[in-house]
């Protein structure tokens, strides 16, 4: 149920990478038999007139203090490029996180059940503590979460009848230190990357600033209708042509 995809320096590189890996795989039951668009060609189009729905309430509370101003600045740049940005209200971030987590941990447990029963100590602490609770999910909870997923996905689909794409933050904070003893943030705060996994939408995170205290990247997330990767890339590329956040590096020394 998670998103997977390329991690690159720029949206342009994503387009080139996606051109190579996209396409129908008959061996993959989750693969759609749909034509592969020319992703790089999509980058050449302007975003003037595109309607973008801003889901601000997902990051209005509990986010890093530098995130809302960074997002506001990014929205102004998109408006300056001709996009029409308007607020949109969806279910709460907690609703999406509850639904996605319930489904994910049940499915993750099913994947790892054999190893968790025979050698649980071989898993890293954070992964093990995310997956083991899946053993305690009841079948009726899993089914209710799947039903709810359809409701939430339909809500996103309705929003995408009004908008060409949806915008929100890409993360509520900055990256954690690479410390295996860190507390697991999954259980302490909702994850803003989960909602578009629930909806099954193409989504892309791009840097939109740096935090003042830590000097680490802040990010904006762009999502669009199923198979509308060209629109996501077009918006990200237009933003990256007007900014240089994606070229900057954090000072890690």
């Amino acid at each position: 149920m998670d998103h997977c995809g390329p991690l690159t320096r720029s949206a342009e590189d994503i387009a080139l990478f996606l051109q190579v890996i996209a396409g129908f795989d008959a061996e993959d039951p989750g693969s759609e038999d749909a034509p592969v668009p020319d992703y790089a060609a999509a980058l050449t189009r302007s975003i003037t007139g595109l309607r973008l729905g801003l889901i601000e309430h997902w990051y209005a509370d509990g986010a890093h203090p530098d995130l809302p101003p960074a997002m506001s600045a990014a929205i102004e740049i998109l408006r300056g490029l001709g996009a029409v940005v308007e607020p949109v209200q969806l279910s709460s971030l907690r609703d999406y996180t509850d639904c996605k987590t319930t489904i994910s941990i049940a499915e993750l447990y099913a994947i790892h059940e054999k190893d968790l029963k025979t050698r649980p100590q071989d898993f890293g602490r954070i992964l093990r503590n995310r997956v083991l609770p899946g053993a305690l999910i009841r079948a009726e909870d899993y089914v209710q979460a799947l039903r709810w997923r359809n409701v939430l996905a339909r809500e996103q689909a309705m929003a995408l009848k009004r908008f060409d794409a949806l915008l929100t933050a890409g993360a509520l904070g900055v990256a954690d230190p690479a410390d295996p003893n860190q507390p697991d943030r999954l259980v302490s705060s909702p994850s803003i990357t989960m909602p578009f996994s629930v909806g099954g939408l193409p989504a892309l995170n791009i840097p939109c600033g740096f935090s003042r205290a830590e000097g680490l990247p802040l990010s904006m997330q762009i999502a669009a209708a199923p198979m509308a990767e060209p629109i996501v890339l077009r918006i990200a590329h237009a933003y990256q042509q007007a900014t240089d956040w994606h070229r900057r590096h954090p000072d890690l020394h």
């Binding site: 039951p29 083991l132 609770p133 305690l136 209710q144 979460a145």
Partner: protein
């Protein structure tokens, strides 16, 4: 009207041990303690799931047999 199960009290350590055992897991005590510490946060998420979603969204109804038989 609330349709979720968030009004139920959280499971205690002995209930968590019993559920774990019923799932066929025999964890070392250190890992069992970690699960006991973690489960309440996950249980709260599960209990907030609404229980009145349409049955038409049932997984069996969204199963696509043509995709399976196509190949």
């Amino acid at each position: 009207m609330r349709t979720d199960l968030s009004h139920l009290p959280p499971s205690g350590p002995e209930e968590i041990r019993a559920m774990t055992s019923r799932a066929g897991l025999d964890l070392p005590e250190e890992l069992m303690q970690q699960l006991i510490a973690m489960w309440p946060a996950f249980e709260a998420m599960v209990r907030r799931i609404p229980r009145d979603c349409d049955r038409a969204a049932e997984p069996a109804h969204t199963y696509r047999p043509l995709r399976i038989v196509r190949d």
